[in-house]
């Protein structure tokens, strides 16, 4: 029995390792490009660069504007602030709405739910112009506030749907028990439902964060100062009219994806928390 399961474990690991390497191969090509000099795509298959250089990373991090202010630090900070606020706002707005959709059978629920789904179906490129006009009217152009509002509303529909799906799986008995103990609706939501939905909250948080973190078209359209740009916008600036600074582009991409991996690593333990920790059985 024991040897059988260890063989199985070995095979599982073998499969996972091969699968992971295959998955990471294109990523390794990006990393290779970011570490090798010049802007050409080497046509060799070896993912290990021949000549190592950190020049591209130095260039990306050391970018400056015409008055000599460092851009990378500011842009990184902008990205971080915008993405974090988007995540918090998105989670807050979405969890309340999802709770309502999951727990109440109210008039207009169906329409509301459909609406939250439907609005994502319209391609964003065509919504940009009216959105620009609205933000202009509200005086929210060229500001993080506007960007945060736009991002969180873009993320809300997804978050609402994901959270609603998860809330549905949480037994109502738990809330009923709290209700008997004299809890209010809000504390049921806050103390019972939310802690139990950590896995779903983690997924939605990751998603909202990434929505904001990787977006560049809206950010570039709405912002008018280089010090206000976010990181992905800067990344697009390595693509020129005739030639592209592939080295910097790749280095920038690697830098951009690191915080997401860090965030995911932090959120991981919540992904596997959830109901197993207690609840139903107790």
């Amino acid at each position: 029995m024991n040897s059988h399961s260890s063989i199985r474990m070995f095979l599982t690991h073998l499969f996972l390792i091969v699968f992971t390497i295959l998955t990471l191969y294109p990523v390794m090509l990006v990393v290779r490009k970011s570490l090798s000099p010049g802007d050409n795509f080497s046509r060799s298959l070896n993912p290990v660069p021949k000549e190592l250089t950190l020049k591209h990373y130095k260039d990306v991090i050391g970018s400056r504007d015409s008055t000599g202010r460092s851009l990378f630090g500011r842009q990184f900070l902008n990205s971080l602030v915008v993405s974090l606020i988007t995540t918090i706002m998105g989670l807050f707005l979405a969890s309340t709405a999802a709770y309502s959709f999951s727990r109440f059978r109210f008039a207009g629920r169906e329409i509301g739910l459909t609406m939250f789904l439907v609005v994502q179906m319209f391609p964003a490129t065509l919504i940009m112009i009216p959105l620009y006009v609205i933000l202009d009217r509200l005086g929210l152009l060229n500001s993080m506030t506007g960007l945060v509002l736009v991002y969180s509303t873009t993320a809300i529909p997804f978050c609402v749907w994901m959270l609603k799906g998860y809330f549905d799986t949480i037994p109502k008995e738990l809330e009923e028990a709290a209700w008997i103990d004299g809890a209010t609706r809000f504390s049921m939501f806050w103390r019972v439902v939310l802690p139990l939905s950590r896995p779903a909250l983690a997924v939605t948080a990751l998603f909202s964060f990434m929505t904001a973190w990787n977006e560049y078209i809206l950010a570039e359209t709405f912002l008018n100062e280089e010090t206000a740009y976010t990181l992905p916008v800067m990344l697009q600036h390595y693509v020129g009219s005739h030639s592209t600074s592939w080295g910097k582009f790749a280095a920038g991409s690697v830098i951009v994806s690191v915080p997401i991996m860090v965030l995911f690593y932090v959120l991981q333990k919540h992904l596997v928390g959830g109901l197993t920790a207690g609840g139903v059985k107790g």
Partner: protein, 447 residues
């Protein structure tokens, strides 16, 4: 208390919004207050061109005698998003005062009322010394001047000394001297260098590298066949006998057959890698290709494209210049900035450090003179002599809205011809039909 808690989401949102609005007004006020004494300039340059532009602007901003209190603020906008960002923001008063772009959007922006004419300031100092003469005319629309040229870019033929020491240089010189530098002999030459690489027989070497399925890079063949994308009267021409001849040249060079001298599905980064390794002997590309070449290892030169029956394979000439927005807050100050940025000092600096060919004759002469005593002169290093000579023979890229619609169907047709061996007649007929469809009611209603 409990009830208050129940309303918490609502109250919370209200506070968040109020806070954001507060923050926002504070930020916006600080942005607006400094606005009156600045000139906002947008550009989409990258690399050296951007660095040098920033240097020039820093110089302008540092000298009160030049800027008279109006400093330039640069915003770098990614090339892909530039036109959309501009057309979105300019009509709403959010755009730049001046901006750098190629001349090929002139018609579009002019018809949308985004550009301010600059002919009030146009004088001999500004326009008289520009070369080639097409550069000025590219920015003139309905007798008004909408842009001041910075530089001109066009395709040329690059060739290099291969790793085994051979080079097509001697042959090209010979052919040029005897006047036989035509497409036939060019193909023969490319064919000669398409073989197993002599230094590594497991690799295949090619004689030529160029983007065969791109209309811009196809233009020289069309012009050499006596055709035009847009006729003198502004009519689009797609399926003409000349265009079919040109498509045959492209297929000959790069089609999907054993005799092709150009590798399939080329992209710029791949092409420059192959050129640097010596697996491609000649490349058709513009001045921007030079920054991709490994100067330390590769000995290369630039020369004319071949001709066909006496017709030169003229590439397109793209002129980059500075436009002024019709909403510019202070046109006088904005023009002062433009005059400086396009002026002699700036032109020379850009030519020396950014590889931008000078389009002012006096700057050219001064830099050319240097080469008599200094073999490392910038004019020689960047091959300006050759580029300038080709530019004089080039055809200005059409800038009309109709012409811009043409590129996508034409490129599609070329891809079909080159990659899938579709008959040129059929592919071009398809492109003609598509273009007609895209033009739609907009063109038929007339201007």
């Amino acid at each position: 208390m409990e009830r208050l808690k129940a309303a918490a989401p609502l109250v919370g949102t209200a506070f968040v919004i109020l806070f954001l609005i507060g923050l926002q007004s504070w930020l916006r006020f600080s942005a607006v207050s400094g606005r009156s004494h600045r000139i906002v300039m947008w550009h989409s340059y990258i690399g050296k061109e951007e660095t040098v532009l920033k240097e020039i602007v820093a110089k302008y901003n540092a000298d009160p005698a030049l800027n008279q209190g109006y400093k330039i603020e640069i915003l770098s906008v990614s090339f892909g998003n530039f036109p959309d960002k501009l057309t979105n923001s300019l009509p709403r008063g959010q755009g730049p005062d001046i901006f750098i772009y190629a001349h090929d959007r002139l018609d579009d922006w002019h018809s949308k009322g985004l550009l301010a004419p600059m002919d009030f300031w146009a004088d001999k100092d500004l326009l008289g010394d520009l070369t080639p003469t097409q550069t000025v005319n590219a920015f003139i629309k309905k007798n008004r001047l909408y842009g001041i040229p910075l530089t001109a870019k066009n395709l040329a033929l690059y060739y290099r000394t291969l790793p085994d020491g051979t080079s097509p240089e001697q042959e090209i010189r010979e052919l040029m001297k005897t006047g036989k530098w035509d497409i036939q002999s060019f193909k023969k030459l490319a064919k000669k260098y398409t073989r197993k690489c002599p230094w590594n027989s497991s690799l295949k070497c090619y004689g030529l590298g160029y983007m065969a399925d791109d209309a811009y890079h196809h233009a020289p063949w069309l012009h050499a066949s006596g055709g035009r994308f847009v006729s003198e009267s502004g009519k689009i021409q797609i399926k003409t006998p000349e265009a079919i001849d040109a498509a045959k040249i492209a297929w000959d060079l790069a089609g999907d057959h054993a005799g092709a001298v150009c590798p399939p599905e080329l992209s710029y980064p791949l092409m420059s890698d192959l050129f640097n390794r010596g697996e491609i002997a000649m490349v058709i590309s513009g001045p921007w290709f030079m920054s991709q070449i490994d100067m330390k290892k590769v000995k290369f030169s630039v020369t004319d494209l071949p001709s066909s029956q006496g017709r030169y394979a003229a590439p397109f000439l793209t002129i980059e210049g500075i436009y002024m927005s019709s909403r510019a807050a202070n046109p006088e100050a904005a023009f002062r900035a433009i005059r400086y940025l396009t002026g002699e000092a700036s032109s020379e600096l850009r030519a020396r450090n950014a590889g931008q060919m000078p389009v002012i004759r006096s700057v050219q002469n001064r830099m050319r003179g240097e080469c008599i005593t200094n073999p490392d002169c910038a004019f020689g290093k960047f091959h300006y002599e050759n580029f300038n000579r080709i530019a004089n023979k080039s055809i200005v890229m059409p800038s009309s809205a109709e012409a811009r619609i043409l590129w996508s169907p034409y490129t599609k047709a070329l891809a079909a011809i080159v990659r899938r061996n579709v008959k040129p007649e059929k592919a071009l007929a398809e492109a003609a039909w598509e273009t007609e469809k895209y033009l739609g009611a907009c063109l038929r209603r007339g201007k």
